[in-house]
């Protein structure tokens, strides 16, 4: 394997065009174990971390721009970002250990296309957009348009994500992401649930977004759960409807980490809890997160 660390997007695009047998990476926290476990080695490794744009976190007037290679630990440590997106920042903080989080990135977490990627449901509920470098310029797609199934994405070999854009949340809004793992840390989500809730003046749910991870080939939004919330108060009835909708939306598999039945049942439980936590944050009554 050869190694290249371009410093500009153009340089990286050219390198990818020049050698089809190449692979971009940021943290390599998935790539190296994959190679170790016998996946074919690419001929050229393209390290994106030395491109400034992929390594920048910028707060604009109405949105944030997060470089695709930014270590997730920078998102959890940024008080302004974590304050506005506690759920997304906590999701980023669940990707492996501190050691991993100093390497892992939103770009890698999304493009590795694991159905269990913790940051993806949290990006989905925040309507995150990805700016993609292509041989002929850039294109912007919603995050839900990237992964198509385990290990596969809509990105072609010559493409990579430069950065993510996420609009600042409106007033009275909170987000949350929680997951179930057998261990408290160093684990892959058996089920993950993200939610973003905006409350109106009466404390009813004005806007709702619910997303699930690890219960289908890709992370998915749950429109029925959102519909059950919008215009209603957050109470046992609406939460029960959220749970039922979440369980119904699952299309999971049996594997070494969990069963279909478990994932369906717990998806409902976690969706309910994520909505509750997001709503509490929207109401300013809770900041409790994924960790004690």
């Amino acid at each position: 394997m050869d190694y290249l660390a371009p410093t500009t997007v153009a340089e990286a695009v050219d390198a990818l065009a020049a050698s089809p047998d190449s692979r971009v990476f940021a943290g390599a926290t998935d790539l190296i174990p994959q190679i170790r476990s016998g996946r074919p080695e690419p001929g050229l490794l393209v390290d994106l971390k030395r491109i400034d744009r992929l390594n920048a976190v910028t707060e604009g007037d109405s949105s944030w721009t997060i470089g695709a290679a930014v270590p997730t630990s920078r998102l959890t440590e940024d008080p302004a970002f974590a304050g506005q997106f506690p759920g997304l920042s906590e999701a980023a903080g669940l990707i492996g250990s501190d050691q991993i989080q100093n390497r892992s990135s939103l770009g890698g977490n999304l493009c590795n296309a694991s159905p269990a990627a913790d940051s993806v449901p949290a990006m989905l509920v925040n309507d995150t957009r990805a700016v993609v470098a292509t041989p002929d310029g850039t294109r912007t797609v919603n995050v839900d348009q990237v992964a198509t199934g385990p290990g596969s994405t809509t990105l072609t070999g010559g493409e990579f994500i430069i950065e993510f854009e996420v609009d600042k949340p409106p007033a009275n809004t909170g987000d949350a992401y929680i997951r179930m793992t057998p261990r408290t840390e160093m684990d892959i989500a058996v089920v993950g649930a993200g939610a973003r809730i905006t409350l109106d003046a009466d404390g009813n749910c004005a806007e709702a977004r619910v997303a699930l991870g690890a219960v289908a080939p890709i992370a998915l939004r749950v429109p029925d759960a959102e519909a059950a919330l919008i215009g209603h108060p957050i109470n046992d009835d609406t939460l029960a409807a959220v749970a039922a909708a979440a369980s119904a939306a699952c299309n999971p598999i049996d594997d070494k980490r969990g069963t279909i039945a478990y994932r369906q049942q717990v998806a409902g439980v976690l969706a309910k809890r994520a909505v509750k936590l997001a709503a509490a944050r929207a109401a300013g009554t809770s900041t409790n997160g994924a960790h004690p």
């Binding site: 170790r36 476990s37 179930m180 057998p182 261990r183 408290t184 840390e185 160093m186 684990d187 892959i188 058996v190 070494k256 980490r257 969990g258 069963t259 039945a261 478990y262 049942q265 717990v266 439980v269 976690l270």
Partner: protein
Amino acid sequence: MTMTEDPTTAPSYKWVGSRSVRPDGLDKVTGKAQFGADLKLPNMLEGAVARSPHAHARIVSIDTSAAEAMAGVHAVITAADLPDLADAGSKTDDIFMSEKILARSKVLWEGHPVAAVAATSREIARAAADAIVVVYEALPHVLTVDEALADGAPVLHDAMITRGVEPAPEAASNAASRVVHERGDLDKGFADADTVLEREYTTKPVHQGYIEPHACVADANQDGRANLFVSSQGHFSLRAMTATTLGWSPSQLNVTPAEIGGGFGGKTTIYLEPLAVRLSAKSGRPVRLVMGRDEVFKATGPTSGSRMKIKMGVTNDGKITAAEVWMAFEAGAFPGSPVGAASMTAIACYDIPNFFVEGFDVVCNKPKVAAYRAPGAPIIAYGVESIVDELALAIDMDPIDLRLKNAAVEGTQASYGPEFPRIGFVETLEAIRDSEHYKSPVPEGYGRGVASGFWFNIGGNSTATVNINEDGNVNVIEGSPDIGGSRASMALFAAEEFGISVDRVSVKIADTQTVGFNDVTGGSRVTLATGKVVIDCCRSIKEDLRRRAAKTWDCEIDDVEWVEGQAQHVSGTETPLSLADLAAKAPRTGGPISVTQSENVRGAGAGFTTQLVDLEIDQETGVCRVARYTTAQDAGKAIHPSYVEGQMQGGVVQGIGWAFNEEYIHRSDGTLDNPSFLDYRIPVASDLPMIETIIVEVPNPNHPYGVRGVGEAGIVPPMAAIGNAIERATQCRLNNLPMSPIALLDAINRRG
């Protein structure tokens, strides 16, 4: 906390029982300590092992030509490069051991070595190993005792007739042997009971999970000798096994013990060593072989998966009248599961008048099991301590009171035969009963569980030399690899015996040419047995020192006593002679001061523990959190309390992992689905609370300081304690390990 049997009569020591800094500590916090993979010799090659992708297959052919042709490859070996011990008429166990090292005619599990390579880099060696072409004829496989014992099951070893069955079966089977322990009249015992319960339990193979993968460096010479640098729990027994596999005599090998990065029983046997020596001999260069983590999981010893059936009866006033126990343990590819020890420990905690305990050792297409901390005992204790708790619930009796009512005490005839000498089981039960933890209310939504455990502990062969330097400082040379701080105990023994500061004692663990024979570091034997010979060395040196002092004072040896690190004349007329004074005079009083002692040490003291756990249970997800854990264990005497606590805490946490998450997950094709620390989930720091320890000290009458041994018993009770806590909180009894969130939520759903 430490609870001594009778503080008023317990001897008081200056150094023994203190928390000194371990002699090897500095090297281990600065990165200097040299573990198995850390030696790099000039001209050294790197090795790799080619392993079977099949769980069970006949080897049709092995073509190594492509590998041998690769640039940088210096040696390739297969079973043809090792002596065929079957032809040599060797013992069956040795033949099996050699077939474990390299498959000859059949591969018996995924990961079974078929060839090995030495090359100029790890990458080339790996590529060469992958280039070896093996043609297999796949055979049907059996993965569990159920599959292996089923009618018409494929048989792993054509000649294997079950031992211990009368009359002997005519046909070969996967049942290697049967053991039985019985006493009294079972029918009468059950008739006497008011409540009889019958339960069935299963467990999965679990791995010792040491953080250091197996690793060694071999350097063979042209004169038919070799040096081996290796991380193991016992370099002498490893030398013997390696020599047997190579067809060498042990003296052809000098084995230098590396620091060992955890073993828990798993490093008491050989895997890479004969391969490294053969590769080195064939290439004429030093060879380093290091396993990857996936190889550790696929090809080194887990402990047994099992099926157990237990029936137990109790009277309304809490007397256990009868126990019937049946168990079958997976041995892996070759016979030798710990079912024998399991059958001996099964009900050893209790004085039960009528019992029948039967165990089967069963081979299957998984890696050959290796010893794991109190081998066998935790598995059967999961069943027995679970059903004992159910009996307590059934007759509405406190679980500790029920155990106290049936507890084995001094003079009880153990279920495995002999009478117990002085033991401390009752004391561990009382320590938990009287603990602040047990007296505290169980928090709402929590479950509280209790369980007990027993392990024999062993003595065995140890040798040590003690030298007095010319400055009066002490060198201890021993041969028991230090896996958990045993050097510190040896230093404390020497400091206590001589009456000098512990920092004047150094402890060296020497190679097989430098120190006499030592059995493995296992069976919780080192502080007891190696400690005993170190103490004997010190005492005979003190005798010699008194003789030398008498010589300088021209008096009788009886006029000299050894007090506080110096020789004193009973009359007080002479100026006392310190260790340093006498060391300086040594040339004039008979020469260097040095003593070697060796012994097959007897008199190990049985170890008991009782443990208490509080679980916080999320009944919507089945996730349990260990909220509080207290363990009380009889150490006999805690020589270095910190490392005694460390053994207790480490054993408990391995048991917690075993209870909730750890298991070998095999695909239907017989391959392992979770050979990594990501999916083989050992506990992480954030899963746990502090583990509260109560060291109970009921001295072992057969040891100069009362040591029993504490390494193993701690892992015996946790699985049952946790299962008991789960039932008491959820009314769900889980009879299969691991008790995962998925299993618990399923049980909660079925409970309704």
